[in-house]
Symmetry: C2
Subunit: 145 residues, 2 copies
DNA sequence: CACCTTGTTGCGAAAATTCGCAATAAACAA
DNA sequence: TTGTTTATTGCGAATTTTCGCAACAAGGTG
């Protein structure tokens, strides 16, 4: 999956933020590395290209790009965080606590649920990414109750 | 909220695990400290009672009790983890990304959704606790789109 | 192009979390 | 009660993540 660089840059500048080479490198890295990439994945990748780019910056930029809704935070089964490109069409995950596998869900399955939360609780669920934890086909039998 | 100590102890021993003073202290602490307590909260609390109880043990026991479904893991908006007593009747959270507030949801709101995931994807969503992120009544206007 | 303003970075230190391993102590059997 | 087994703890080191602050540089202005 890819991202529209110029559009993102415009959006950032319009909000008073700056487009730095570090941010571009990190965003590119997440993009290339695929789904649910960890901060360490990103650091390893960008560090080869820009050896002075620090770990702190990786964490800060990942956090920042998530706030800007350019990336989405993915909770893994063990509690660790990963990131992925938010993209125009949201999607969601079923995360297996046993084998750590990820199953992708189309956004449609959440639409009615989201609307219900909106009307009943006046709470706007973040559409960019939602994770559910549980047990997948292969693991639900062996995992016990 | 409280927990049935003897029942829990019996369950642990039956599975081949041991009931240690550390585990009891930590479980009591989570119980007393209420919803979404952090590892540091727990450590501060138990450390007064048992000064030799180490941080590593706190983390390990919290993780362990979660695996045993005695505690439930709560994802906070900033990605940090907290814990709370799982309890017999599951409940869920709407977590506001702006003000970090927690709104509790009864289990009923998830029932149909859970059944749908079960039949459509053969995936059993963990009922003990689910968190949704987004923006609450107070923050949804100011937070922008 | 030179100059400001202030958002960002890098660095090193601090804090949070995990790991490895020897010592300890639950649980159970006799 | 004593002994045996092995799950669990504590400790210190390693790793991951965050913080504070001075130096830097992106974006705007004249």
């Amino acid at each position: 999956m890819s991202h529209n660089t110029t559009e993102i840059n415009r959006q950032l500048r319009k909000s008073g933020y700056r487009v730095t080479p570090q941010r571009q490198l990190i965003l590119d890295a997440v993009c290339q590395l695929g789904d649910h990439v960890t901060p360490e994945d990103v650091y390893d990748h960008v560090h080869r290209i820009a050896p002075t780019l620090s770990r702190a910056t990786v964490y800060r930029v990942l956090h920042f790009l998530t706030e800007q809704r350019i990336l989405a935070m993915v909770h893994m089964a063990d509690g660790r965080l990963a990131y992925e490109l938010a993209g125009p069409e949201p999607h969601h995950h079923l995360v297996c606590r046993s084998c750590d596998s990820l199953l992708e869900l189309p956004h449609s399955v959440l639409r009615s649920f989201r609307r219900a939360m909106d009307t009943q609780y006046d709470f706007e669920i973040d559409v960019s990414h939602v994770s559910f934890f549980g047990h997948c086909t292969d693991c639900r039998d062996t995992a016990g109750a």
